[in-house]
Symmetry: C2
């Protein structure tokens, strides 16, 4: 059985492909971001999507985070069962099946959710009752163009509807902003706050988010908390955004060169089932740390095709193990049942990725 790693063994003896996580980098990433949040006086709520592992979330809370952020009810179930007591689900929860699941979950932990429509509010209002009201935030689209109400005026309308629903409690505003949109996001949120106050509505939380421009969070003074996931491991996209350097990337995918069909081509055993097809604007699928000029140009499910034409000097040999910094670390965590942690290349622990595949 693969991944039966012994504590202390070299990661180079692991059966590949496997994500390996550097304990020291994780600890430094957690500390650095929490220190910043403490410094600017902002609550911090890590998004568990990046690691999906209760023990890592525990470390984030121990560092000072106030609670956690999940995207789906099914993810939150894992963390509620692991004892987490303050979970924000940043998602419109809709439909009979989901509402039943949400209601069950609300008995286990302190839960809050987000909405951006009357339809979602009505479903929640029909499910919860005043004895155990559900906290509901309004999702605002401050520029990212995904979910969220399009104006502060609409945010007020939904906030009033929540406040008028006996089983619901208005919890505030939430946005998943476009990176580097602090000025326009602050303008939107500040305006919404004025409207809410004018309408006599208390707004306990304004939840801002994202890793790419996390260290600009102080430029959004209306926000009361920040949510972020990727910062815990970091990845190539976060390094490009300026949030971190490649040295701050805790996750690498250990892979083996399985074929060298031509002088300029190597095939590795990490394909889209190991690295995912997420390009995120890059033209290749990760950075091979040992051969930074090699380019992973194509993935099939179990093969990665590497173009070596720019590699001068030694080239990878069949059987050689390589470590790859992924474009996007969160999606890699969703592909593996377990992940190996290490310090300086020696295995420290195996962790089950408990919330992997929790998509519903």
């Amino acid at each position: 059985m693969a991944y039966e790693a012994e504590i202390g063994q070299s990661i180079n003896r692991l059966s590949t492909p496997v994500p390996v996580i550097d304990e020291d980098i994780v600890a430094a990433n957690i500390a650095r971001v929490q220190d910043y949040m403490d410094e600017i006086g902002r609550s911090f709520r890590p998004h568990i999507k990046t690691h999906k592992i209760p023990r890592i979330a525990q470390a984030q809370l121990q560092a000072g985070a106030k609670g956690i952020n999940c995207q789906k009810v099914s993810e939150a179930e894992i963390f509620a069962d692991a004892g987490f007591e303050d979970i924000l689900i940043t998602y419109n929860i809709l439909g009979e099946e989901k509402l039943v699941e949400l209601y069950k979950l609300s008995k286990k932990t302190k839960l809050s959710v987000c909405v951006d429509s009357e339809t979602t509010i009505e479903g929640l209002a029909g499910t919860f009752s005043p004895e155990k009201a559900l906290t509901v935030l309004v999702e605002c689209d401050t520029g990212a163009g995904r979910c969220g109400v399009q104006s502060p005026e609409r945010a007020l309308v939904l906030a009033q509807k929540i406040a008028a629903s006996p089983g619901l409690k208005f919890g505030g505003l939430m946005t998943y902003p476009r990176p580097d949109s602090e000025v326009e996001s602050e303008r939107y949120l500040a305006r919404a706050l004025v409207l809410l106050t004018g309408a006599g509505l208390d707004c306990p939380t304004i939840s801002y988010g994202g890793t790419p421009s996390l260290f600009n969070s102080h430029l959004v003074p209306s926000a009361t908390e920040h949510r972020a996931g990727t910062y815990v491991y970091n990845d190539r996209a976060m390094a490009r955004s300026g949030h971190c350097t490649l040295e701050d990337c805790a996750m690498t995918i250990l892979a083996t060169v399985v074929s060298r069909p031509t002088a300029n081509r190597a095939i590795i055993d990490a394909g889209s089932k190991g690295l995912t097809s997420d390009l995120l604007g890059f033209e290749d699928f990760g950075i091979i740390t040992e051969y930074p000029k090699a380019r992973i140009v194509e993935l099939s499910e179990e093969h990665g095709s590497v173009d070596l034409s720019a590699v001068t000097g030694k080239r990878p040999e069949i059987g050689e193990k390589l470590r790859i910094i992924p474009n996007h670390t969160c999606v890699v965590s969703n592909l593996f049942d377990r992940v190996v942690f290490h310090k300086g290349g020696k295995v420290t622990r195996l962790e089950t990725i408990a919330a992997r595949g929790r998509v519903w």
Copy 2:
């Protein structure tokens, strides 16, 4: 708990996102391809990567397939434990950890593997012994540009090395061809066959493969067997290749509209964790069967962003359930623990995707 579907219930009551598989289309796809293989007198070896479910592979064998094809030792373990007795692993198996796993597996089932280098042959030769020799095929690159020896002459060299290794048995040639490359593939394979015969080597199997141009397999008369995976479910890419029509696609992903932030934008609860980021040359992430002019233009992990600007008439509403034909069905099977089968929209069974995540 999600996906606790009852037999006979409507799939529209399932918690989304969830892949649903049409039993009738699967049965028709299996029959159609097996009929063709029977007609041209070719052995057929389905690749399990598309479904990863022993019961579906069993149906493929019952229809007339001779054995199955896996890509990884870990996948083959699942199928060996489920009683499958003829498994071809089309992969270079390398390194101490993998060779130990392969050796254990070889005691459970009739196994053959593929190689494209001396290094791989030497590892296998050091692991197996004449009392229980391992069947080894040479992988040939007949134009796809992934793994495989680059010439018939190199195929002969490796075949001779296999034949000269006491623990190994030369099993023939294997190629994963470029679609529509029948003429050049046949030329390569026929030439290799001449060389092997000239060297006194028997070549029991020439294994050809792929779904996209499967129905051209008769144009490769040197081949003795065909391998294919995707044909069992089919997908948007297979329809584009001309292998099938969209009506032959058995898998759809059932998703819910969770937000309608603007007139032209819908957000669905299937993101890259439900559909994968595989574009395969398309510019969007699948076909919404109910709104074929809507375009899934962007995915984050749990959100799909749908551009409705080309949709005339009725547009999807919040809470509405949609069925999406994925670009690439195989990768979707790797994202879910379970899949729901149905007949005409009524649930017939739930199947655990037993070999999901078996990447090592």
